[in-house]
Structures are given as structure tokens and as C-alpha cells.
């Protein structure tokens, strides 16, 4: 990758290497075909074959998905509502991945954020004005999420310990701790099933207009766009990206790599905490013991496919939510097992991955 573009290079060796490969640029259209449209079509065809094998008409199945998730009012509202926590997680991962930190512990951070907001918000109702209850809930969730990343952050920043391992381990601990807290500390004494106190519907995030869509969607969109702008347009973002792209160059340019690493962890885990709060304060109202939607790991492939680009990730999150909502209902109505959603999602991811691979391969050939 050192000298592949520079046919006019004065370096004679580079020239020799260049002239070896005749550059034939594929059009942008062809690239889009290989990386996005093609794989999506392939994935639906693949799933269609599986559906036919189990004796279900794939067209009916796909028809139900579309009808339920996008063309029915309620379904569309559910799709939009589901997007909110996913968007906050996208924001969290964009910061981390662009800064070269593989924060795979978002599930633990998410759940602890959710639990702390569910534990405090109902108690504050009546004490503080409605908006302040929500602000405190979100702020505490962000704080707790960030605190849960301190150990991996310090280990990474000062000892170079691989954060993939540490964040994953902390995530398991976080999920269990969240469940324990619900059962032992924050349990609502008035219910038999272990769960936290419930935030009354009136005190949750306001709904949008006359619909059932939570305004968490708006905050999630704002979060992703802001994070995207921060990472691409500000000096702070460039510093983080530089540490991610080449820590040696960052040190050379006088940046404090350990401090910026800590900041990345704090921000990323904070947004994961916000994601938890948005689900609780916007939709669920409480946390039941053993509740773990595992959105964090779900979002990772989307962020990768969007190449850490905020807008791209928003689009993918939208389709992903629609797929989740729609296929749940389609599966129920056609008697296909619930888990077929996962088959569809998995073939989608595999095909998109293959598309990337083919694209890489073609580009290498062009050189």
C-alpha cells in the first residue's frame, strides 16, 4: 500500500512497481453493488431458500416483515422506538472504534446504566420537576457506565492490556451485577417478580406528537450526529482518531496517548450508559431481573458496515430495527420459529462480509 497511486513518482523503483499493474477503476456504482445492494439481495435469496426448505413461502414472509415493520402505523412506531437505544450504542461504538479502542463491554455498561436510572428516577418523581428527573436519570446512567470502564481503561492506558478481553470480562460482571442489584438492592417491594420500581408513563420521555414513538429517538439521532461531527470536525476528534490510527505518531506529535485513551473509554462507556437509560426512561420504565437485550453486541457489525460513519450507521440501525420488529411478527404468523430472525440477520451479515471481501480482493487485483 506504500506506492500504488503515484505514477509520476520520482522514485524509479516505485515507478517500476507502479507500471506493473494497469489501473482500471471500477465505477462507484459497481462498488456499491458489490458492497451493499448485492449482499443484501443475496442474503434475502439465501434466507428464501431456507424458508422454502421448511415449507414457508418466502414472499409471504418478507411481505409480512415489510407490512408489519414499515407499512403499518404501529409497526413503524415500534421500529422507530426500538432505534433509540441502538443509536446511543452506535454513538458509543463510533467514538471507541474510531479511536482504536475495541470496547466490547457495552452490554454491561448499558445494563448498569439502565439499572441506576431505573433505581433513581421513580424515587425522584415528585421531588424534582419532570425534566430534572429525566436529566438526573440520564446523567447518573452515563456516569455509572463510564465508571464501569475504569478498570479496562486504566489497564489499557498504562499497562497496554488488551481491552477486548478486559471489557468483555467486565461486561459479564456488569450484567450479573445489574441483575443482583435488581434482586437485592433496588427491588420494588410491592411486586412479586424481582424488578425495580416503575417510572410512571407520564414521567417517561415524552412521546412524539400523537404517536407512541419515544422522543429517545430524537436524542439518539442527535447523539450520533454530534459524535460524528466531533470525531470528524473537531481537534479533539482528530486527536482521538490519531491515537487510534497510529499511537506512535500521536506520541511523536506530543499527544498524551494514555489520557486520550482514558477519555475514549469514559465517553464510549458513558454513551452506552445513556443507551440503557433511554430504554428505561423512554420505554420500559423499570428493569426486570435477568433482563439483558444484548443490544451492544448486536450493534457492532452495523457500526463496522457503516465504516464508523454516523449517517450510514443511522440508516443501518433503521433497517435493522425494522427487521427485528417485522420478522418477530412474521415468524409468529407463519409458524416459523422466533429464532428465524437470527437466521436472516446472520445471512445478511455473512453476505455483507463476503461483499467486503470480494471488494478488497478486486481492489488488490487492480493494483
Amino acid at each position: 500500500m506504500v506506492d500504488d497511486v503515484n505514477p509520476s513518482s520520482v522514485d524509479p523503483e516505485a515507478n517500476a512497481a507502479d507500471s506493473a499493474g494497469v489501473v482500471t477503476e471500477r465505477s462507484a456504482f459497481q462498488r456499491v453493488l458489490t458492497v451493499t445492494v448485492g449482499p443484501i439481495v443475496a442474503a434475502f435469496l439465501l434466507s428464501a431458500i431456507i424458508l422454502m426448505l421448511v415449507g414457508v413461502n418466502p414472499l409471504t414472509y418478507y411481505g409480512y416483515i415489510l407490512e408489519r415493520s414499515l407499512f403499518s402505523g404501529l409497526g413503524l412506531e415500534q421500529t422507530a422506538t426500538r432505534m433509540a437505544p441502538l443509536l446511543f450504542l452506535v454513538a458509543s461504538l463510533i467514538i471507541a472504534f474510531r479511536a482504536g479502542i475495541w470496547n466490547l463491554g457495552t452490554d454491561g455498561q448499558f445494563l448498569l446504566g439502565a439499572v441506576i436510572s431505573a433505581a433513581t428516577a421513580p424515587l425522584l418523581v415528585g421531588v424534582l420537576p419532570g425534566w430534572a428527573v429525566l436529566v438526573v436519570g440520564f446523567a447518573l446512567a452515563a456516569l455509572v457506565g463510564a465508571v464501569w470502564s475504569i478498570i479496562p481503561a486504566l489497564l489499557k492506558a498504562y499497562q497496554g492490556v488488551n481491552e477486548i478481553i478486559t471489557t468483555l470480562m467486565m461486561s459479564f460482571l456488569g450484567v450479573l451485577l445489574a441483575s443482583t442489584l435488581v434482586k437485592l438492592v433496588f427491588r420494588d417491594p410491592t411486586t412479586t417478580v424481582p424488578q425495580t420500581r416503575t417510572l410512571p408513563v407520564a414521567d417517561r420521555l415524552p412521546r412524539l406528537f400523537e404517536t407512541s414513538i419515544s422522543s429517545g429517538l430524537i436524542w439518539g439521532l442527535i447523539a450520533v450526529v454530534l459524535v460524528h461531527l466531533m470525531m470528524t470536525r473537531t481537534s479533539f476528534g482528530l486527536r482521538l482518531r490519531m491515537v487510534g490510527a497510529n499511537p506512535a505518531a500521536a506520541t511523536h506529535a506530543g499527544l498524551s496517548v494514555p489520557l486520550l485513551t482514558l477519555a475514549t473509554f469514559g465517553l464510549s462507556a458513558g454513551f452506552a450508559g445513556l443507551a440503557g437509560a433511554s430504554e428505561i426512561l423512554g420505554v420500559a420504565g423499570n428493569v426486570r431481573a435477568n433482563w439483558n437485550p444484548a443490544y451492544g453486541l448486536m450493534v457492532i457489525p452495523l457500526v463496522f458496515l457503516a465504516r464508523f460513519h454516523g449517517i450510514g450507521a443511522i440508516v443501518l440501525v433503521f433497517f435493522y430495527s425494522a427487521l427485528m420488529i417485522g420478522s418477530e411478527s412474521a415468524a409468529r404468523r407463519l409458524g416459523v420459529p422466533q429464532d428465524f430472525t437470527l437466521v436472516l440477520v446472520a445471512s445478511l451479515l455473512i453476505c455483507l462480509g463476503l461483499g467486503e471481501y470480494i471488494d478488497q480482493h478486486k481492489r488488490k487485483k487492480e493494483r
Binding site: 506506492d3 503515484n6 520520482v10 516505485a14 481537534s235 482528530l238 486527536r239 490519531m242 506529535a253
Partner: protein, 533 residues
């Protein structure tokens, strides 16, 4: 030393092409010719020393012989027949075993297990047979190894013995020892030297790679000197025998550091040094560790408009000195002054603002972020500073204009400022980085190997630029491993060896005499000359 004279003459190493022949081999890597048309023959019964500085092409040659790399041009012969070593196993099958600089053993396995690694999976380790062979090896070569010890718990010298034993168990014909003494104590190195002589007496060919001059003479029967990828000269067994150590070292220094025939003769630059001192370093020391050499008690001063050359074989602390000056490396003790102002505690960014600039030798891994466009790379050291950022918000159009100006001013060959810098050639990346360091008010510029890996034309322009910078009244610290370059540009030359400054010489234009004086200091020989046993 007595061993060097015990050359086994009955094996008549002078005849034929030897067990392995290297014929006109050339190997290129992006932007560098690592090995340039080298022909060598390795003979049984000889310790053949490949001597050269880092980057002289020794390791690439080892890579080619051990099947890790294949030559772009030229070919290898085995017992006179043309052969291809396409993989490490092909090389092993050809009877070539390599002991690499860094251990290739599994530290958690026992010695026996390590010795049997690579054997067919369906066979039980033939313990009795290995034990018997080891007994033989112990008698012949004084290799004594506890077969059941855990490898990681043994000393580095013993681990190396395991690798040699492994090669012997395979009945190798050629043993390559890559920088084998670098991790040994002097005592251990001497034992290795004796062992090599015992090995060649049994009919093996030993290829011994080193950059230490004295070792080459003491342990080798034949010395080939590599310089910038090409063969600079060879000393055969007869020649070596007829010299004493002093003469041999003299001759090797001449081969390694002497002016090669046909090199462009660069005129010695007229000095532009002024009175005022811009940079003063007193008793600077840094902490070293296993991988990084520590600096000891470095004192220097630099006047405005002066070029202070820093000579030395690569890896003797030059990079650490540059990093310490730039503020990238913490000091254990000492003091640094810029324009009579104490900057010992100043950060990298503060030093840059005050006018101390550092152009790193590692253009791609440290100097730039390969995936970022040229435009961003031109401002990486000014992130957050006006005018390119206002209140932390980036101004892409200003950065792009700045980058375009720099591209024009330094004639960078690129399709545009949005091209990722990693796609440029080494010379063009160098121009971008130079432009970045010279923007604003520079007072002192530290260049680390500024022309390393560039082609001739870019070397000339870079040298001209460095001379111009000094001419404009800035102080220049020029670190280079190229003596011609230092002698063409510097006012004075400091010679580093082992993390210390061995001496500072005026570049008085005495040419060859000065060159050899510096060469000896670089080899650490001036002080160690008397250490010969």
C-alpha cells in the same frame, strides 16, 4: 586470538562454489533496495562472517537463505546446482539451519520437546536416540543441555545452545547464526566463537552475522562486508591470517566506512555558524531497558547556523537522543536549553512552539498517519491551534490551502492534498514532513537519518535543504549513519557509541584520515583497542 588461525586447510575451502552459492541476488522492498546484486559463496569448514551496519542487507540475506524471502533477481546454488528455497522447510530440507537473533523456541516446553518440534506428529519423541546424540554433541562441541528442563528457565546462552543442537540433530550442512552474540555475555560470546570453530572443523559451513568488528576477526575465517545492500569487500582466510587484529580492524573499517568508488563527491559545505548558542545539552541521561539503549551523560552545544553531525552505527542511542531533545523521551537526569531558556521540563508541544523541531527517521510509522490525507498530516503537530482550528472546530478549507502551499513549495509529487500520505513514495513523504517541521518559527531542527531510503535525486535535494536551513540561521542536529553525508554537511561531528558520545571532531576537511578516525570511534574501537586478549 589463537582460534582464528586454526583454519582447517585440509577441506580446501577455496575450490568450487562452496556448499551454498549466492549469485547476483537482488531484493527490493517498497522504496529500498535491501540487497543489491550480491554474490557470495559459503564453504564447508569455514566460519563466514557477514559484517555490516543495520540496514546493510544482512538480515534480508539471511531471510533469503532461510527460505523466508525469495530474491527478485539472481539465484542460489546448492552444491553447485541451481536451487530455489521457496519456504523455510525447503531451506531446512536443503540442510540449512538458522539460529535467529530472537529465540525461536517455545519457552513453556522442555528442552527435549523443543528439540523434537517439527518431527512427524505420529512418532513418539525418540528420547533415547536424542539423549545418545546429545551425549555425542556434548563431547564434540561442549553443548551440555538438561533435556527435561523448562526452556524458558534457562539462560539465553543455553537457549541458543538448544537451537544449535537442534540444527545439528537435523544433520544440517550449513548453520546460520544471525546476530548470535548480541544477547550473550562477553564470556558467552567467546564460548560461541570457540564452538563455531569446532563446528566448522566437523565439516559444517557456518554463516555468522554480526556488526561487531572485533568478533568478526576473532571468530571468522572469511569476512564479507555489506554496505547499503551491496558487497563492499571480502577478506579471505589467507588475507585474514596474515593480519593482526589491529590491521584487520583497520581494513574492515575502511571497507565499511570508506568512500566507495564512484560515489558522488559532495563538496564540503562552507560553514554558516554564528556566535550565539541555540541549543545546549548538559549531562543528559535516559533510562535504558532490554530493547532500548539508555543515554549516558550526553553534553552538546549547538550554535545558530551550525550543523552538528551525529555519527554512529545505527542503534547506538541516536534515536533516543533525538527523542530526548524533542521531549518524547523522559530524562533520567540532565538539562536542555534552547536559546538560553531551560526547556528540560517542557512538553513536546511546548518545545515545538519554542522552535525546536524533530524530523523522525520513521516516516511512515511515527512521522505520519498513513491512512490520513496529506492535508491532515501537514497539521498533525498543530492540532487545535489557530488558524487551522477555531475553538476546537476544524477549518478544512484553510488546512487544505496550507497543504497545497506546502505541496507546491516542497514540490511534493502527489495527485492532490486529499491523497492518503501512505500512498506516496518515501521521498515525497519526507518532503511533507520536512514542510511540517519548518512551518512557523523554527530555531533548531533535529534530523534523524533524513536521507535514509531515498533515491539519489531526493537525497541531493534533501541535503541542499538542510544546508539552506542552516544558512538561514537555524541550528541543525543531523543524525546520520552515512559518513559521506555528515562530512559534506556538518561543521562538527559527534560520534555516538553505546549511548555515549565518544568524541566530537571538527569537520576540518581532512577527508580520509578523519573518516577513519570517526569509523574507529563508531566501532568503539578507540577505547577498546587494548582489550584484545
Amino acid at each position: 586470538m589463537a582460534l582464528a588461525t586454526e583454519n582447517p586447510t585440509n577441506l580446501s575451502p577455496e575450490t568450487g562454489t562452496g556448499v551454498i552459492g549466492v549469485h547476483g541476488v537482488t531484493k527490493r522492498f517498497p522504496g529500498v533496495i535491501a540487497v543489491n546484486n550480491v554474490s557470495l559463496a559459503f564453504h564447508p569448514g569455514e566460519v563466514h562472517v557477514l559484517l555490516g551496519e543495520n540496514g546493510a542487507g544482512k538480515s534480508t540475506l539471511v531471510g533469503i537463505l532461510s527460505g523466508l524471502q525469495e530474491p527478485d533477481e539472481g539465484y542460489l546454488t546448492l552444491n553447485g546446482e541451481k536451487t530455489r528455497l521457496a519456504s523455510p522447510s525447503a531451506s531446512l530440507d536443503a540442510g540449512i539451519s538458522t539460529v535467529f537473533q530472537h529465540s525461536m523456541l517455545v519457552p513453556t516446553l522442555t528442552v527435549l520437546e523443543n528439540l523434537t518440534l517439527g518431527a512427524p506428529w505420529y512418532e513418539r519423541p525418540p528420547r533415547a536416540r536424542i539423549a545418545a546424540r546429545m551425549e555425542e554433541l556434548k563431547r564434540e562441541f561442549a553443548l551440555s543441555l538438561p533435556l527435561d528442563a523448562i526452556t524458558g528457565e534457562l539462560s539465553l546462552g543455553q537457549q541458543q545452545q538448544i537451537e544449535i543442537a537442534r540444527a545439528l540433530l537435523r544433520d544440517s550442512k550449513v548453520l546460520i547464526l544471525d546476530e548470535a552474540t548480541s544477547m550473550l555475555t562477553p564470556q558467552g560470546a567467546q564460548e560461541l566463537g570457540q564452538r563455531m570453530q569446532q563446528l566448522v572443523k566437523s565439516g559444517l559451513a557456518v554463516i555468522f552475522i554480526t556488526h561487531k568488528l572485533a568478533e568478526a576477526y576473532r571468530y571468522g575465517n572469511r569476512i564479507s562486508v555489506l554496505k547499503q545492500g551491496a558487497l563492499a569487500g571480502e577478506l579471505g582466510p589467507e588475507e585474514l591470517k596474515s593480519m593482526n587484529e589491529e590491521q584487520a580492524v583497520e581494513e574492515i573499517v575502511r571497507l565499511m566506512f570508506g568512500r566507495e568508488a564512484g560515489a558522488t563527491s559532495t563538496e564540503h559545505r562552507a560553514s554558516s555558524a554564528r556566535e550565539e548558542t541555540v541549543l545546549k545539552v548538559e549531562n543528559l541521561s535516559t533510562q535504558g531497558d532490554a530493547d532500548v539503549i539508555g543515554l549516558q551523560d550526553i553534553s552538546l552545544s549547538l550554535r545558530a547556523g551550525e550543523i552538528l553531525g551525529v555519527a554512529g552505527i545505527d542503534g547506538n542511542g541516536q534515536k533516543q537522543l533525538a527523542e530526548a531533545l524533542a521531549g518524547q523521551r523522559p530524562l533520567a537526569s540532565g538539562r536542555v536549553e534552547l536559546d538560553a531558556e531551560d526547556i528540560t521540563r517542557a512538553s513536546v508541544a511546548q518545545r515545538r512552539l519554542k522552535g525546536l523541531r524533530y524530523l523522525t527517521d520513521d516516516r511512515l510509522e511515527e512521522g505520519s498517519v498513513a491512512a490520513f490525507p496529506i492535508s491532515e498530516n501537514t497539521v498533525l503537530k498543530d492540532i487545535g491551534q489557530p488558524p487551522f482550528w477555531i475553538n476546537g472546530i476544524e477549518r478544512p478549507s484553510l488546512i487544505a490551502r496550507h497543504a497545497r502551499d506546502l505541496i507546491t513549495k516542497f514540490s511534493v509529487r502527489t495527485p492532490g492534498e486529499t491523497t492518503p500520505i501512505g500512498r506516496l513514495s518515501g521521498g515525497n513523504i519526507q518532503k511533507v514532513l520536512l514542510g511540517r517541521e519548518l512551518s512557523g518559527e523554527a530555531r533548531v531542527v533535529v534530523f534523524n537519518k533524513p536521507t535514509y531510503g531515498l533515491d539519489l535525486q531526493n537525497i541531493d535535494t534533501s541535503r541542499q535543504r538542510i544546508a539552506d536551513i542552516a544558512g538561514r540561521g537555524m541550528g541543525v542536529v543531523l543524525i546520520s549513519t552515512d559518513l559521506d553525508e555528515l562530512m559534506a554537511l556538518s561543521d562538527r561531528i559527534a560520534v555516538m557509541e553505546g549511548g555515549r558520545i565518544r568524541g566530537v571532531v571538527e569537520n576540518d576537511g581532512t577527508g580520509e584520515a578523519l573518516r577513519l578516525r570517526i569509523g574507529r570511534m563508531m566501532a568503539g574501537e578507540e577505547e577498546n583497542r587494548q582489550a584484545t586478549e
